[in-house]
Symmetry: none
Subunit: 245 residues, 2 copies
């Protein structure tokens, strides 16, 4: 058996994959680089013979893959989720190139689960899906044809993660020593804030515009720590309690 | 049309490929990274529908591919040929890891053609084939399962070549297109928040501890934009107004 590695804390999450062959090729790509944890959000067809064939000797990864109904389930307990996107988005998160992102993911994977999230073959991730992630990642590519095959994108990211694991990380991305908040903690914070905004009349649920999206984007950039979430929720509660007196 | 690039001097050479799908996937992998010159040494079946399908929008590369009868033909005029090998060989050439090899190939491609040579899916390159190359290249991988799919190996090398071509590119961390808030705007936000925290009883001015410091640190990481400051101050005001009713 292998020794435990931070790579065991890296989840590959495929959302709404159409072609089973890509799932198999993803498993193979993962295994060649030492990744093993695969989550499938609503795959169109799985398990499948086509996936098994393309997985070659990485079927163990398919057998252990977790099939879930929504992205939230796949991100449970993750302290950092990175969304792969081909194009920069207008409501941009902090965007990192593949190599840089791999370094940051690997750094956090030393302590807690992290996720790399890949969208549909045809259209990528939806805006709400990206909204559940803290950073977006782009793979440097030919601007005239950046359409990487899904498994090829997984292969590149898995390779960069493996490379990150073999570099004695120069403190380049000096991350804080504080513990990052989990996916659930951050989602509870957003719900709390949203409720407070509605009660105070700042947010009209009938006309929400893109307010929560903007707020998610802001705090995603900050990569909230556990204690910071507590402080922010404490402030909201204090303002609310005081108000209701 | 694109400007000439040293990447135009990089040949991908596939020797004795068995599966036409891999040739198509190779073309796609190449095009995503800006490579275009493909040589096929004795492919088992080419052209093929399977190759076309897997090439997706990179069929132009298949159409321009040169089919040759032996490796020597594919290496005509090349100043450097690099053989991909999964394992170190006993009669070892100078062996470089993928990243290092890409740097060296790109360097020479500024002036003359170079080649990256990939062998059969099942057994890789033969010893005589490797003997025609000047260096061997290995892709760092899981020692327990280093069996990369052929097109995946091409994808990684093409990516490293592209990365080598953009080394001076700092544009990786593109800052958002939104306008960042000014120093004053941010300071006014902190004051506003601090006052609200004091009024609500969350912050005791006699015992402030390091609360504001923590909050400053959080928002500093986010690098607030003008509009975000307005949103945050709007939320605070709404909560406060509601309270004082």
């Amino acid at each position: 058996m292998n020794r435990p590695s931070p790579l065991d804390n890296v989840r590959i999450v495929l959302s709404h994959t159409s072609h089973a062959g890509n799932i198999g090729a993803t498993a193979r790509a993962m295994k060649t680089m030492g990744l093993s944890v695969l989550y499938l959000v609503n795959p169109k067809s799985f398990p499948s013979n086509e996936a098994d064939v393309r997985a070659s000797n990485a079927r163990d990864i398919l057998e252990q893959a977790r099939v879930v109904g929504c992205l939230e389930e796949a991100l449970q307990d993750c302290v950092l989720a990175a969304a792969l996107t081909a194009r920069p988005r207008d409501l941009a998160h902090r965007t990192l190139a593949a190599r840089e992102a791999a370094g940051e993911l690997f750094h956090h994977a030393r302590h807690a689960p992290v996720a790399l999230v890949f969208g549909r073959e045809s259209s990528g991730l939806t805006t709400p899906e990206i909204g559940k992630c803290q950073i977006t990642v782009h793979i440097p590519a030919n601007p005239d044809y950046a359409s990487l095959n899904l498994a090829a994108a997984v292969q590149l990211m898995a390779y960069e993660l493996r490379m990150a694991s073999t570099v004695t990380m120069p403190a380049a991305s000096q991350q804080s020593v504080y513990r990052l908040a989990s996916f659930q903690e951050i989602e509870l914070f957003y719900s709390h804030l949203e409720q407070a905004m509605i009660h105070s009349g700042f947010l009209d649920p009938a006309q929400p515009k893109r307010l929560m999206q903007r707020i998610r984007r802001l705090f995603a950039r900050a990569q909230l720590e556990k204690e910071e979430v507590n402080i922010l929720r404490g402030i909201i509660s204090a303002l609310e309690k005081h108000r209701s007196k």
